[in-house]
Amino acid sequence: MPTVEDRVRQVTARVLQIDPARIRLKSSFTTDLGAESVQSVELVASFEEEFGIEMNEDEALAVETVGSAVDYITKVCAQQGVAV
């Protein structure tokens, strides 16, 4: 079963239309991976869909790196009783 990290990489690669190999845990969504304003919103929406969770808009959009996103999503899944 793919890990949270694997699934975050897959979603990020699909939404930003980039090679998954470029994505590191320390990669910044904006400065390293080139996410523009609307793409940041699309990423959050896609993570919600992928994991079946609801994220706080301000908190989710404040996440800067892929690693932080993995941590934040793991935390939200636990809070909302979603197994990952």
């Binding site: 304003s37 609307v38 919103v41 699309e42 959050v44 929406a45 919600e48 994220m55 808009e57 989710a60």
Partner: protein, 470 residues
């Protein structure tokens, strides 16, 4: 380099100070003065003016939409004028903040309009007339049954000699005063319009003329005593302190009010906008002691126009700190009506332009979405039936799209949806510009269609749109 002379320590807070004593969102921002008089040097002596007195003085808005306003456009029909008059009455409210409006009296249609307006039974705006300074014209005023009429009493030598061809100032004053006498005899209050006052010889002509008018007024009952309209015919008036006569509004009002003794209740400012000063000049006249500010709807008047009535109304509320019975939503009704009869109003025109409270910048839309007070001048939904809106372009971002959707569906409080939920619509908007290379903004109709297509659940849930401007 300027040396700092006073330290300014930070007053740190953890909660915002929104200065709501001034920026009460339910009203236009209040205009507050410090509790000290304003001092202007006049004839070398300091003269005090108490701006705070506007709170208690009976300052009023007067209207000349049907006279000066009509000089700038094809004539209104009788039906249109009656409709506008009716709306003005509702706007100004029962206290008569819009105190008077003036009518031409020369044609059958002029008189028919006046009759139909009066037949509506409104106490305010009072109907007054407008005639030339010709004795025979009082027959028209008498026949119309009006209590007051404006009459041209041009005051600059440009008019006295170059236009009216008087041989001397004495001949001119004698002629004007004959007409004033005729008004008294007819039982009609004359309102002398000092045309071109801001280009006149104040000491040499205007003050002697007004002195004589005041002496004449002493011989008649108070209700017939002469009113004075200060006409800034070419927009030369200036509101700054220490300006020389004849362009200084403070000094003009001082001379007429305190030297000639014309009470503020009988002084009226009439401006023109040739130098973009018209609204500030009108408000300045109020502050320095002139009780009436003459205006036209949306500023339409001869050449560059007059003080906009709706601007004066907002200024009035801001000075008084209260709506005073005014129904500001009628401003929007008036604008909508005027558009239907062909009056052009620019999209960015304050208070009534189609985009006066519409933003297309994403960063502004983001602010509006968090707290509309950040980028809205006051509660435009409450006061003008016009909630703040966004116009969607490539600069608007997901914030703007979310704001548009929330306004479109009329969602409030916890029902408002986040920008995460509108990501498909936001993507479509961005693709319009990035992929389709669109150059125009996106219309409400297009967005409505796309919302239905891309967010069908939302559409089903809130399918009765109550968005602004719909």
């Amino acid at each position: 380099m300027t040396v700092p002379t006073r330290p300014h320590p930070l007053v740190d807070r953890t909660t915002p100070n929104l200065l709501e004593e001034t920026f009460d969102y339910d009203l236009p921002p209040l205009i507050k003065f410090e509790p000290h008089p304003v001092v202007e040097l006049i004839d070398g002596r300091p003269v005090e003016f108490d701006f705070n007195s506007v709170k208690t003085r009976d300052i009023v808005v007067t209207d000349t939409t049907f006279r000066d306003g009509q000089q700038a456009r094809p004539p209104y029909t009788i039906e249109q004028m009656v409709k506008i008059y009716d709306l003005l009455a509702r706007l100004g409210g029962p206290r008569g903040v819009i105190r008077q409006t003036e009518f031409f009296l020369y044609t059958k249609n002029d008189r028919e309009t006046l009759d139909q307006c009066r037949a509506l039974g409104h106490r305010y705006p009072e109907c007054t007339g407008w005639i030339r300074a010709v004795k025979g014209d009082f027959r028209l005023v008498r026949e119309a049954g009006l209590q007051e009429t404006g009459m041209l009493t041009s005051s600059s030598d440009y008019h006295i000699f170059q236009k009216l061809k008087f041989k001397s100032r004495q001949e001119c004053i004698d002629s004007y005063c004959e007409v004033v006498d005729a008004a008294f005899e007819a039982g009609v209050r004359p309102r002398c319009h000092l045309e071109d006052l801001t280009r006149a010889d104040i000491d040499g002509f205007v003050l002697p003329f007004v002195d004589r008018l005041m002496r004449m007024s002493e011989q008649v009952p108070e209700e017939l005593s002469v009113k004075i309209r200060l006409c800034d015919t070419m927009g030369f008036g200036l509101h700054y302190p220490h300006v020389e006569l004849p362009r200084s509004i403070p000094k003009l009002i001082y001379k007429l009010n305190r030297e000639c003794g014309v009470p503020g209740s009988r002084l009226e400012w009439h401006g023109h906008n040739d130098f973009h000063r018209v609204h500030a000049n009108g408000a300045t006249a109020w502050l320095y002691g002139c009780d009436a500010c003459n205006t036209t709807l949306f500023g339409f008047g001869e050449r560059t126009g007059n003080p906009p009535l709706e601007g004066a109304i907002m200024e009035y509320i801001a000075l008084k700190g209260d709506l005073c019975g005014i129904d500001t939503t009628v401003i929007t009704e008036l604008a909508e009506y005027m558009r239907t009869i062909g009056l052009p109003i620019a999209d960015n025109y304050p208070f009534v332009g189609k985009k006066f409270n519409t933003t297309s910048a994403g960063i502004h839309a983001g602010g509006l979405r968090q707290d509309e007070r950040i980028y809205n001048i006051f509660d435009t939904a409450r006061l003008l039936n016009r909630p703040p809106r966004v116009s969607l372009t490539d600069k608007t971002g997901a914030d703007g799209v979310a704001l548009w959707v929330n306004e479109f569906f009329g969602l409030k409080g916890d029902d408002r949806i986040s920008k995460i939920k509108v990501h498909k619509l936001a993507r479509w908007v961005m693709d319009q510009y990035e992929v389709e290379h669109r150059l125009t903004s996106i219309s409400d109709e297009e967005l409505e269609q796309k919302t239905r297509e891309l967010m069908p659940e939302l559409w089903e849930r809130y399918r009765s749109p109550v968005g602004a401007g719909r």
